[in-house]
Symmetry: C2
Subunit: 161 residues, 2 copies
């Protein structure tokens, strides 16, 4: 099975709606030079994230976004479009983050989420964990970041369909 969207809106979305095989695409969010510098000044003040002139002679030939900034923008798209408004219970973790290409000032990012697997909890029968591959793409459709996400969602309550 493959589809480009959920069958139900985020206000009615439960564990059962995160069906393996679904492929979802959301975005874009653009990242400006000022935002790159602002984020990195607070959280990742390496010169190739905060100093456009010095970055020209650095390993990426120019200013690039902190990988954690790219992750945060990815999370914004996930929160706005992928999460349930009624069933999201947070995340136990993330596997295999890879920053595959630099993100540069003016890039516009989108995400593609492929739902891989849903596992009902054995200890807490009201919820399950959904595993998904998240890819972050730039405006050229190049993959700039990938990760494997785990998210906990409540199961649909009985009689609520």
């Amino acid at each position: 099975m493959a589809s480009s969207d959920f069958a139900v809106s985020s206000e009615k979305r439960y564990f059962e709606d995160y069906v393996p095989g679904l492929v979802l695409e959301y975005g874009t969010i653009s990242i400006s030079e000022a935002e790159i510098i602002d984020f990195a000044t607070r959280f990742d003040p390496q010169y190739f994230h905060i100093d456009p002139e010095a970055a020209k002679g650095g390993p990426y030939g120019g200013l690039i976004a902190s990988g954690w900034h790219t992750a945060a923008v990815m999370m914004r798209l996930v929160a706005d479009y992928y999460m349930s408004k009624v069933a999201s219970l947070g995340s136990p973790g993330i596997d295999e983050i890879r920053w595959t290409r630099p993100v540069r000032p003016g890039d516009s990012l989108s995400i593609r989420i492929s739902i891989l697997e849903g596992k009902r909890s054995t200890s807490k029968p009201d919820r399950g964990v959904v595993h998904a591959l998240v890819e972050v793409l730039n405006q050229k459709q190049e993959v700039v970041m990938t990760l494997k996400a785990m998210n906990i969602f409540r199961l649909r309550p009985h009689g609520n369909r």
Copy 2:
């Protein structure tokens, strides 16, 4: 071998100085309620990160920081203390992020970095990848986040010792 700090300052630190067995501790950075709400409003606007009142009835019984906010604060400590000012070439990725406990308003975070392994690049002989376990601790010394980091560093230039 175990030690609590590098033998050389960040201005003279190269791949060879990231010795497996080193255990490094840095911090703290405190996270206020306003900072939690500000970060999450931009990047992770789920109600248990941005709405203190609604969060009381949520899965964590109160407001908690976005896991990506905790990661960003971790990165700030890594950038300030662990990275080399002369040899850092970025990161290909991160493995096994786990958010093990909530981070709440007023928590003070520190990090403990255990260097696991250094691998010289076969394709680019001027550099290597350092693998490290990073633990983020709160003021009670409880682990709130763990991850496995990979960082690329230049080897020490010949004749520069």
